[in-house]
Symmetry: D2
Subunit: 430 residues, 4 copies
C-alpha cells in the first residue's frame, strides 16, 4: 500500500539540490519525533573540532540516503529492468530513510564504552511502541518487520538489502558527498549521476555495467581520500579518544557510587546499561554537551579536566612512530606514573589496525557483517568482482597503512619533562 501525496514535497538540500517526497508514508515518517531527533545528532561526531564546517546532522544524511535510493529505483523503473522487484519500492525507501534512526549522540564513542549497538536500536525503534512503528503499520501489519529485516540484512530479497547496505550503497554515496561538502574538502567528490546511470539490477544483486568501471574507481578513490584526509585525521582521533575517556571516567565514577552534582536520568540508565527505548530516544548531542558543561564543576578532578578539555578544545597532542611494542609501552606507563601522570588516561595509543578501514574489501566473508562487493557486468552478461578487473582497485583493496600515534597532555608532560628519561624527552620533542 503506497499512497501518493497530492502534491510532491521538496526539501532544499545542499548536496542533492532537492529531495523529493511523493509517498505519504515517507512524509509521515520524516515528521515523527524519532526521526526529527536526528536533527540533534551530528553526522560526524567530533569531526567538527577538526573541520569546523562538519556540523551537519544525521537528519540531512538520512534524507540524502533516501533520495539516492529513490533515484536508483526510478532509474530501474524508467528503464523497465525486469530483475528489479517493483513491489519492493516502499520497503526500500523506508529502510534507507530509517537505517540510521537508532544512532545516539557521538555513537562511535558511546558504543565503544557501553557496548550498545545502533543497528539494534534502529530495529527496536522500528518494531517498538513508537510513532515510526505506527506509521509503518499503516502500510501493513508485517511492514515494520520487513523494514527491520532489511536493516538487519536478513530480508529475503538480497537486492533490496544491497541498496541500503553494500560496498557501494546509497548510505556511502550520500555520506561521502555530504561530508566532503560540509568539511569543505573536495577530494570526496565523484560523479553521482553517472554512477547511478551505470547501475543495473542483475538477478539478486545490483551490478555495474562494464563501461562504468572508471566511475566506480573514481568513487573508491574519493572514499580513499576521505578516509585519510577526514575520517582518520589524527585530530579527530584525538577528540574521539577524549570523548571515550570522559564516558569511561563517568561510568567508573557511577559504578563506584560517586555522587554527581549533575546527572540526568537518561545518563544514569546508560551507565547502568539498562536503557529503555524511550530514554534512548531522549538522548542527543545536547544532553551530552550539557552534561560535560556541568561536569566541569564536578569534584572529581579527572572528569572535570577531561570535560574542560573537550569543550574548550584543548586536545591531547600526539607523536607518530613507525612501530610500537608492549615492552616499550609499559616503560612509558611506568615513567608516567613516576612523574605523577595517570597512564590510564594520559597516555593512549592509536594503532593503524584499529582503523575501521574499509575503502574496499573484495571478498564476501561468511561474517554477516561483511558488505557485498562491487560487481561488474560485461557485455556478455558475465559478472566479476571489481578488483579482479581494475588494477587500481586491487591496490586499494585491503590496504593497511598509517603509523602508530601516541596521545598525551602536552602541557602536563612538558612541566614534568626534566624527570623523564632523555630518550623519552627526545621522542616527545621536549
Amino acid at each position: 500500500m503506497q499512497r501518493q501525496l497530492q502534491e510532491e514535497k521538496v526539501f532544499k538540500d545542499p548536496v542533492h539540490h532537492s529531495v523529493y517526497v511523493h509517498d505519504m508514508t515517507i512524509w509521515k515518517l520524516i515528521n515523527t519525533p524519532e526521526f526529527q531527533r536526528l536533527r540533534r545528532i551530528r553526522q560526524l561526531g567530533t569531526t567538527y573540532l577538526t573541520f569546523h564546517g562538519a556540523e551537519h546532522s544525521r537528519f540531512s544524511h538520512s534524507l540524502g540516503v533516501y533520495e539516492i535510493t529513490r533515484k536508483i529505483i526510478n532509474q530501474f523503473e524508467r528503464n523497465g529492468y525486469k530483475d528489479w522487484p517493483q513491489e519492493e519500492k516502499l520497503v526500500s525507501l523506508c529502510a534507507s530513510l530509517l537505517h540510521d534512526v537508532g544512532h545516539g549522540p557521538f555513537s562511535h564513542a558511546i558504543e565503544h564504552v557501553f557496548q550498545t549497538d545502533h543497528e539494534k536500536w534502529t530495529c527496536d525503534i522500528v518494531l517498538g511502541d513508537t510513532s515510526i512503528n505506527r506509521v509503518l503499520r499503516e502500510a501493513g501489519e508485517e511492514f515494520p518487520d520487513k523494514v527491520a529485516s532489511v536493516i538487519r540484512k536478513t530480508y529475503d530479497k538480497p537486492i533490496v538489502v544491497s541498496l541500503v547496505s553494500s560496498q557501494m550503497d546509497a548510505d556511502r554515496m550520500d555520506y561521502l558527498l555530504r561530508d566532503a561538502y560540509f568539511t569543505g574538502v573536495n577530494y570526496g567528490s565523484f560523479d553521482l549521476d553517472r554512477l547511478l546511470r551505470v547501475m543495473r539490477p542483475h538477478k539478486d544483486a545490483i551490478v555495474v555495467k562494464e563501461s562504468g568501471m572508471h566511475a566506480v574507481e573514481a568513487y573508491l578513490m574519493a572514499r580513499y581520500q576521505m578516509y585519510w584526509q577526514v575520517y582518520f585525521h589524527p585530530v579527530t582521533r584525538s577528540s574521539d579518544m577524549l570523548l571515550r575517556q570522559i564516558f569511561r571516567r563517568a561510568g567508573e565514577l557511577y559504578q563506584s557510587g560517586y555522587r554527581f552534582a549533575f546527572l540526568l536520568p537518561q545518563l544514569a540508565q546508560l551507565f547502568e546499561r539498562k536503557m529503555t527505548v524511550d530514554a534512548y530516544l531522549s538522548l542527543d548531542d545536547s544532553i551530552v554537551q550539557t552534561a560535560f558543561n556541568q561536569w566541569i564543576r564536578e569534584s572529581d578532578e579527572l572528569l572535570s579536566d577531561l570535560c574542560r578539555r573537550f569543550l574548550h578544545r584543548q586536545l591531547y597532542k600526539y607523536i607518530t612512530v613507525e612501530s610500537i611494542d608492549e615492552a616499550f609501552l609499559n616503560g612509558l606507563r611506568e615513567e608516567w606514573l613516576a612523574i605523577g601522570l595517570n597512564p590510564e588516561y594520559h597516555l593512549e595509543v592509536d594503532t593503524p589496525i584499529d582503523l575501521p578501514y574499509d575503502v574496499y574489501k573484495p571478498g564476501t566473508a561468511p561474517d554477516a557483517k561483511d558488505k557485498p562487493p562491487i560487481l561488474i557486468l560485461d557485455e556478455k552478461d558475465r559478472v566479476s568482482e571489481i578488483s579482479a578487473r581494475s588494477d587500481i582497485i586491487k591496490s586499494i583493496a585491503g590496504l593497511h597503512q598509517g603509523k602508530y600515534a601516541i596521545y598525551y597532555p602536552e602541557e602536563e608532560l612538558r612541566e614534568r619533562a626534566s624527570r623523564l628519561k632523555p630518550s623519552t624527552r627526545e621522542l616527545f620533542g621536549l
Copy 2:
C-alpha cells in the same frame, strides 16, 4: 605589537576554502574557551527547522568575517593606499574576529524576551576577567578598550569601524555567502573577489570605485533574495515565535514561583535578569535544547506542549492576509477564548513592519545604530551615496513589502472548527 606565527596556520573553510592566520594574537584568541564556545551556538538560530542544512555555528562565521577583513586589509596594503592607517591592522582583525563573541543561544529570541543585548555582552567579555581579555592585553594595556570601542562603533578611526560595521561590511559579506552555502540556496551568491577588488580607503571611509557599481548591485540583490527566501521564511518566523513563547512561558512560571522539575542555575539567572559574564559564557544551544527536552515532562501543560512542539518540529501553521486591524484581532482572540484556546499563545501575528528589514538604507540617521551607507567614488574623486547612482538600488532601498501572517496550532483549531464563525472557518480554510 603584532607577533607573527613562525608558520601560518590554515583552517579549511567551505566558503573561503582556507582561512589564514599569521598573528599570534589571533591564534591565541581562537583558542580561548570563550571563542570556542561559539562552536555550540548556531549561526541562524531556528532556521535549521526550515532549511535542514543551516546547522552551522557562529564559530565558522566569525572566522569568515576575520578572513574577509584580512583580505580587504591585504589589498589595501599591497596597493599602498595611503588613506589606510596601517597601524590599525591588528585591532581591525581582532574586532572582526570577536564581534559576535557575545552572542548567546538563539539570541534573537532571548534578547527579545529578556532584554539582553549581545553587543553589550561582547564588550563585557572583551573587557572582563576572561581569557580573551588576557590575550588582548598582551598586545597592550589599552588594547581591549580599543577593540571594544570598534565594536561599540565609537572608535576614533571611523574607517576601522566601517570594516566591521557598515552596509557592506565583512560581517554581512560572510554571512550572506555562508548562509547561502549551508542552506543550499544559490541566490545569496555574489562575486566576493571582485567586490574586494573595487574597495578603496578614502579619507575616513571605505568606498567603491565607480566601475564596481554593478558588483555592489549584485551584492545587494543577493541580500534582497536572502531576506525574502531565507531570513524571513514564514516557517522560520513560526519556529522563532515558538521559541519566544517557550522563554516567555518559562519566565512567567519562574516569576510566579513555579517549581521546575529541571532548571539549570544559568537559566534561573537569565529569568531573574541577573546574569554574570561567567554564567552567560556557559550558555549555549545545548543547554537550551536540553532544558526543552526535560521540560516536556514538566507539569505545566502549556510549557510542556510548547517544548514538545519545538523539539518534534510540530510548528504552528499560518495563513497570510493583506491587512489586519486591532478590531479584527480582538474578535479572533475572543473566539479563541470561547473555544478554549489561549489567545496569548495560540494566536500570534507577524506584521511586515516587524521584519528587521535592511537590505539597504541610504541615509545615515543620527541614531548610532545606523550603519554607514555605501559610497561610490567616481573618476574625478567625487563621492556619492549609491542609491543616487543606481536606479535598481534606489528601488530596493527601504522597500517594505510582505503580508501579515497569523500563526496558530492547526490541529487544536481544526478540532474546534465547528464552534468558529463561518467567516473565520473560511479564512483558516477549515
Copy 3:
C-alpha cells in the same frame, strides 16, 4: 509520431550535467550536418575577446534549450496539468532544438551589415531541401511547417510558442546560465530547478505560481547583471564594431569592383545579397576568420588594417561621455579629416539607445517581435503581469542607463594629437 530510442542517449554538459535524448527524431536532428554546423559558430560572437572563456558554440546552447524544454514538459506531464496539450511535446522539443539553426557566423554583425535575418534562415532550413527537413518529414508531412510556425511565433497553440519564445523561455534560461559558466562570472546564476518547479500551464500561457515570484526576481536580476557586466561590456561593443567595419569595408570594395586576392564564393554571395541555403550553410566562424587572416595581405590598406586589428586584438579604445549631439560629432569628424583620419571608420559612437536592452518589458506591444511578459498566478487563480506585483521588477523594467561611448584608434590619434583642438585633446586624455 514519436519513436523512442531503445536506450536513452546522454550528452555530458557542463551546465545541465546531462542532456537526455529519448526520441529518435531528436537524435537524428542532432546528427544532421546542418545541426553539427552549429559547433563551428560561437554563441557569443566576439565576446571571447573580452572574456577569454566565452568560446562556446551555438551547438551546446541549442542542446541546452532542448534540455530545459524537455524538463519543463516532463514536469507538466508528471503532474498531469490539464492545460498542457500533451500531443505538442515533439513539436516543442524540435522547435527548441532548432530555433538557432539559422544563425550564421557572428550573426549580429553580419545581419546588421547585410540585412539578413537568422530567424528567416532557420525557417528556410527547416522547410528547404535539407537533412533537417527530411528528418522532420518522417514525423509527418506537415511537421516541418508546424516547427517553422512555432519559430515564427505564428503557431496556433500560443503555449508552445511561449516555451521557446517569451520573456522567460528556455532559450534565455539556458544562455544566461551557459554564458555565465563559460565567461566565469557568477552573477548570471539563478536557481533553474526552482524556476522550473513553479511554472504552470494556464490556459494558453505558461505562468508562475505566486510563491515563485522571488525566484523570477532572481532570474531577472541575473539577467540584469549579465547585460551590464557581459553583454554590453564596452570591449565587446568595440570588437563588434570592428567586425561590422570589416564587413562594411569588404562589401564596399566588392561593390566597387575591387579584385580581392582571396575571396571564397560564399562571401561573394553574401556581398551580393544573393545567398542560397546551401551556401549559407557552408558559412561558419572559420571561413570568416580565414578570410580576415588572408585579407591582412590585401592591397586595400583600410581593410588590411581592420583585419589585423581584429585578429591581433588591437581594438579601438573608447572614452565615455554623458551626452552627445550631432554638432559636436560633426566637429569631431572635421577634426579627424583635418588630421588625416577617416571619420567613417576611425570614429564610432555607441549610444545607450542602441543597446538591445530587454531585461524585462512589461507590455505586449502589438509588434509581433515583442515577447510575452511574465505572468503570476495567485492562489485564487488570478493572473497578473509581474511588474505589477514586484517593486524591484518594476524598477528594472524598461530601465535605460549607460553613457555614450566614442571609439577611436588610440595610437593613430595620439600621433596626431598636437594638431587637435585643446578641448579635444583634453576629452581624449591626450
Copy 4:
C-alpha cells in the same frame, strides 16, 4: 629587469577566477599577435566532437599555466624559502606563459603526419623575428635565450625547468582543472590550493612535504581519471584518426601533383615540409576547418568523403578486442580489398601501447624527454620518490591497460556485409 604595471591587470578566468598580471613584460607578451593567435587554436583538438563543452583554446590554458606558476613563486617568496632563486621569477613566468606558443592547429595530428614539433616551433618563435622576441629582448639581450632554454629543459637552474615541466608542473595542473571544467566532468578536480601550499623548493628541485602526500595522490588520481574518461575516449581517438587520414590523403595528393580546387599557401608549405615561422604563425584551427569545408567539393572522392565525415561528425565506428596480431589484421585487409573498401583508410587499429600514457612515471630515464618524478620531503629532510612511499601511486605508475580498437566506416561495411566471412560478420556485429 622587471617593470611593474602601475595598476595590476586582471583577467576573469572560469578556472582560477582571476589571473593577475603585475609585470609589464607579461602584459606586453599577452598582447603580441603570436600569443593572441592561441585564441584560435583549441586546447583539446578534436575532443569537442566527444564532449561538446571542450571548445576552449590554448590561450586560456596558457594564461592558467602562468597564473599557477605565479602563485607557486609567490608562496615561495612569501615564506622566504632560501632554495628559491628569487632572480628567476620573470624568466619562469615568461616560460610558463609561452611554453605552448608553438602549438599549431590540431597539433597532435599534424605533428604525427608531417613530423613537425611544437616545442621546436616555440623556440623558433621566442628566438626569431617576432613581437614576442622583441618584448623579451627589452628585458635583456640574453633573455630570449634564457626563456628558450627553460622550454628546451636545458636551463642551468633545474628548479626553474621543473616549474614548467615535471610530473607535477603548472602545465599539467592547469590543463587537468581546465579540461575538467570545460568538458563538464568532475573527475579531474583536485585541491589546487592545498597542493600549492605543500610544495617547497629544495636544493635544485621542487618537492612536496610529507603531510601533503595524500594531496598528491588525489592529483594523480584525477589525472588517471582524465586519461581514461576524456583523453583516451574512443570517440576522440576516432576523430583524431580521421583528422590524420585527411592530412595524410591531402599530403599524398599534393606529392602526386593533384590540382586542388582550394589550397591556401600555408598548407602547401606544410605539405612540402618547408615552413617559415611567418607562415606557421598564420596557421590556426580556422584555416584547417575552412580547407576541410572547401575540400568537400574536391574531385578526389576519398578526400572529399573524409572531410565530409569530419565536418558532419560522421565518424568511424569501432569494436574492441582483447588482442590482435598481424596475421589477423592482414586477413581483414584482404577482406576489405575484396569487398571494395580501402584498407589504408577504412581500417585502422588503435593499440593500448600507442596511448601516450603517463599518469605517472617513477624513474628519470636518461632520455631528456622524461619529466622529473615527484619527490616527497619528510620531517627529517630526506627526499624520496613518491611511488616508494605510496602504494596507490605505485599501482598507478606505469600501468598499461585498455583494449585494442578497430575503426571502420560502419555504413559502408554494413552494405557489403553479405560478402564478409561469417566470423568477421560476427566480430563486427553485422
